[in-house]
Amino acid sequence: MIGSSSRELSRLLACSRREFLRNAAGVTLGSTVLRSPLARAASFPKKKKVVVITFGGGARDQETFAPEGQENVSNMMRELIPQASFFTQVVNRGILGHYVATASLATGAYETINNFASLPPENPTVFEYYRKDLKRPSSDVWVVAPSNGFNRIGESNHRSYGGGLGARVLLPKHLLTAAISGSSADYEHLLRDNYETPYYAPELGGREFELQQLERLLKLSVDDFKAHARTLSSPDELSVYIARQLMRQVAPSLLWITMHDIDVAHAGAYSLYIEGIQRTDRLCAEMWKAIQSEPEYAGKTTLLILPDFGRDADNDSGGNGFQHHRTGDALSRTTWLMALGPGIREGVVFDRALQSIDLVPTLGAMLGFSPSLAQGESIAELL
């Protein structure tokens, strides 16, 4: 039966990640015995911040944490894993499209919205829970998202939430397009977009980041922004640059960044997919360094990194290997989660099965809000 064999494959995937990490990064296997909440409370600072990085464009094991993929994620292997709690088996049981999957990560419920339309999530987002429960201003919650299709990710249309309770969404590519006002020759490499449906990018709807806020909020002149953008090589580099500026100038307590370069895999060029993974690996390490170097974040920030899902297995004849995520097989549904920061156990691997929708309840438990409509469960090992 596929159901049971799929679960078995997910488990084997987890075991292989664990064994590899144990050998390569010297991590230990975590037990389900949990620490005293008092001990954790003592080690966690009062002014907590959380940064979430998701990969909108899944990466498979064999190109990341399997032995042959190690070379592509050297920064995570060398610098992040030894400081992290690593969960080897995070299963996404929802729709494997990047916008809808990211929306599911952000709501803690499997969203069923049209992946390719400019629609808000149907369930309240983590940003709304956080702001409503903790009475936080909009400036405290930001999303840096990869493409126009993600501009509605910050706020649901749920009647008890929505309505100005969401996160502010920054679309760096949209910002750059506005800044260069038509002459894009020097910036084309930063404006790559929409690999799942390359022919179609939804028009912006909902709230947009106004160009003048570039200067007011990010303390960045249009000229400086353009000059720095010229030194970058990809849309995700642009996103991280903007995120770092945001951290420096606004210091939101909840910052959500969605990477997207890896999703170039849809074009079928393996070398570009690998380059995307290597770049994302480097950018994740840079973000962790930024967290440690920014006074507003150092010592009080938890960083969580997870892909939204994986990609199809080579041996599934229904797919075309790394190129897509259409089969719903175990490899495309199973991914991982890494958590770093104060109070998080370092160098520990957990291979019990989680769901990707467990993220929001976990953030709720970490930050002290109640995601009442989320379907997942909080990850006890991180609390």
Binding site: G94, H266, A267, Q323
Partner: protein, 401 residues
């Protein structure tokens, strides 16, 4: 409408051979669940434009279904019958637009969390069908050849890493006249074992001189069609209300004439080529993606006895919008990236070949063009080994054939 309400006249919109096939098997079709039937009709409606291997497989499948008793149909399709469809899907014109139905049905399966149940049903059905319909033996074991790295002067990283466990890595290949030797060898096979669409040559650039007995598809020859497609897409995208689903439907309905292809060509091969461009992802912009997808589809659909695939350099990555604009400038090439793409593509070519009947007897050769390294795999070759014997491409073929 439900399958039991099917009437022969409803197939009047099908091409002639497809109509005959559907009406001849209507009694069986009427018994199939709606979660299954449109997927089958999607194949039937294209029957007139299918390769011989596909036609034979479809005929056998329908003959087998027609031979099942009502009780057996119930047993075979029990899992499909459990899939819950929406009223919108039930009212869809799935007889005349089965492909569009399947697309919407797929979205429905994802949304309603029934995809896993459908996978179980589909795999179970395929297993039963394989057991019930014996596979045909081939007149000669299959041979796959992939040529990668065209134009790359020097490459320091290991190649064929995913294939090494399955064959012998050869480090002293004599590259002189290698391409010609391989093309001559596949031409000889085509003449010795003639079969329509049985021996293929796919090239990522302009096809080299080759024997007309080979079915040839090349990225270079399709340039006018690719340009026409990108222009059409650009004009469609600008229309009000256009979204990705609608655009996909528009592309799926494109025919060779829509892309300026000659009306005197081979209608089966021309349809195949149009589908490579309209259904493949990245095939319109990257020659390496085109070649890998073309090889996959040729293997899956035509099940050739011989397939020679030559990758060529693709254009360097640019913003998607620019790649999709049919530019006339000579594009900058990414030689090393193309080699990496092709190395993986060769592995996929081997994987796809091994999915076909007779895999245990099939052979495979991949060569780094104009260089000294290659890998050969086949029943006669020890796996996971390395050979430092000096040999040209013709000799390498004798090792595996």
């Amino acid at each position: 409408m439900l399958p039991r309400e099917l009437k022969p006249g409803q197939f009047n919109g099908y091409p002639p051979e497809a109509r005959k096939l559907a009406t001849a098997n209507i009694a069986a079709l009427q018994q199939l669940p709606l979660s299954f039937l449109p997927g089958l009709l999607r194949e039937v409606i294209d029957y007139d434009f299918k390769f011989p291997a596909e036609r034979k497989a479809l005929e056998k499948e329908l003959a087998n279904l027609s031979g099942l008793s009502t009780a057996q149909i119930g047993e075979w399709f029990q899992a499909f019958a459990q899939i819950v469809l929406s009223p919108q899907l039930e009212h869809f014109d799935w007889v005349n637009s089965p492909a569009q139905f399947v697309e919407q049905f797929s979205a429905h399966l994802w949304t309603t969390h029934q995809l896993d149940a459908f996978r179980i049903a589909a795999t179970g059905y395929a297993d039963r069908m394989h057991a019930a319909v014996p596979q045909e033996s081939q007149p000669v074991p299959r041979l796959g050849i992939s040529i990668i790295g065209q134009g790359v002067g020097w490459y320091n990283e290991p190649l064929f890493r995913k294939l090494r466990a399955h064959g012998a890595y050869c480090t002293r290949v004599k590259p002189e006249n290698g391409l010609k030797m391989l093309l001559d060898a596949v031409a000889a096979r085509a003449k010795a074992h003639p079969a329509p669409y049985g021996h293929w040559y796919i090239d990522g650039g302009q096809a080299a001189d080759h024997d007309p007995a080979l079915t040839c598809v090349s990225y270079g020859a399709l340039e006018p069609a690719r340009t026409a497609l990108l222009r059409k897409v650009q004009s469609e995208v600008g229309k009000p209300g256009m979204g990705p689903e609608t655009l996909r439907t528009v592309m799926a309905q494109m025919r060779p004439a829509d892309l300026g292809m000659s009306q005197t060509g081979d209608p089966v091969l021309d349809r195949f080529q149009v589908r490579l461009l309209t259904e493949g992802s990245g095939t319109q912009i990257f020659s390496t993606s085109f070649v890998q997808w073309a090889a996959r589809e040729a293997l899956r659909r035509a099940q050739p006895l011989t397939l020679l695939v030559r990758f060529a350099p693709r254009q360097r990555q640019k913003p998607m919008n620019e790649l999709l604009t049919a530019a006339h400038d000579r594009p900058e090439l990414d030689l090393t990236g193309s080699l990496v793409d092709a190395d993986m593509g060769a592995y996929y070519n081997w994987l796809n070949q091994q999915r076909l009947p007779g895999a245990e007897k099939s052979s495979f050769l991949v060569w780094f063009e104009d260089h000294n390294s290659a890998l050969v795999a086949g029943p006669a070759m020890p796996r996971g080994t390395e050979s430092s014997t000096a040999a040209d491409l013709k000799e390498l073929l004798t090792w595996i054939l």
